[in-house]
């Protein structure tokens, strides 16, 4: 079982620690490979075949194909590595952040212009449990 950490109490947040960096090593290194134009072309030509070059878990490969960002994070993906994948899709940090928070990009951008997600009510899992009744 994974060791409990004080930061596990921060809601809606996955801290990319040593354990997760090990779990997501191949997934993240796959993402990083997309910084090279030749690799981007190969990936575009056949995503599944390209993913099979990396010893990733089936769940990780499926989450890449689905562009399921929260799932990728839960499987050891790190946002700065995943960025290589969504940049390759011509998507921005805001686009992906909106998806991860379950809002439209328009709603999310508006929230940011209005000062962002407030920290009140978002500090601990207890606060989230209360909010959701």
């Amino acid at each position: 079982m994974a060791k409990a950490h004080d930061y596990d109490d921060i809601p809606g947040t996955t801290v990319f620690d040593a354990q997760r960096s090990r779990q997501g090593y191949h997934l993240n290194m796959f993402c990083m490979s997309l910084m090279k134009p030749g690799n981007r072309a190969d990936f575009k030509a056949g995503e599944r075949a390209y993913l099979d070059r990396y010893p990733m878990s089936e769940a990780q490969k499926q989450a890449v194909l689905d562009r399921d960002w929260n799932r990728l994070i839960s499987l050891g993906g790190n946002i700065y590595y995943l960025a290589k994948l969504f940049f390759n899709d011509q998507k921005s940090f805001q686009h992906v952040a909106a998806i991860m928070t379950g809002s439209t990009q328009e709603e999310y951008a508006k929230m940011m212009i209005n000062g962002g997600r407030p920290v009140q009510g978002n500090r601990s899992k207890k606060e989230w449990a209360k909010k959701r009744g």
């Binding site: 947040t13 620690d17 040593a18 805001q94 940011m112 997600r117």
Partner: protein
Amino acid sequence: MARIIGGVTTSHVPAIGAALDNGKSGEPYWKKVFDGYERSKEWIRKVKPDVILLVYNDHAVAFSLDIIPTFALGCAAEFPVADEGWGPRPVPKVIGHPELAAHIAQSVILDEFDLTVVNKMEVDHGLTVPLSLMYGQPKAWPCPVIPLAVNVVVYPPPTGRRCYALGRAIRKAIKSFDQDLRVVVFGTGGMSHQLQGPRAGLINSKFDRSFLERMAKNPKALTKITHLELMREAGSEGIELVMWLIMRGSLDEKVKEVHRFYHVPASNTAVGHLILENAK
């Protein structure tokens, strides 16, 4: 003798670089960000540093999960601008200062900071965006830059206290360099932001403003903030703020605050910026 004349802190949001590179800096959304740096540009033109030591973090570009140095000092003669996936930013290549960098490395390692020396490294937006904010779009950067890359991507980053102490050691190293150079230290990243998961978009202006306030007057209090508190209060990526403390540690205890700017948002992030000068 070399000496540190001042310090700059600033966020290094990639979208700021993209806005400038794509000619969008005059649009209302971005103008609010760039306007906060007008005075800063004047200041740096006036003080004209001979060298900049720029503390930033690499964003899975020069370093991957293969090698994760906590503190990596760029000792090369030049640092190419990285292609982060959409082509390199159209900015000049970064010229280093290998002599001063080697001197700093030797000095701080003997002071018990186990730096990684890097002789070949591409630099990403973490380093180039702060230069763009301070210098605009010149044909060449006006002075050499020594990159100091800090790991804040894989938890845990170095503690705030350790960062501040490294700043002290860098200060000592620069002071003992036998060339008459005026150095400005940049501490970049932050302020509050979270880029991942259902809590993405978190901003904590109250925390940020208090952090800005204490940078000049009470930085030791900032070194006591735990990683847990930083992530809880300023978002998982807000932990980058530890890098500001390297800059602060490199200055005198008494400093003069020359400029302060705070703005929400640039994309997903709260933009915070300070210019501090050594008081005497």
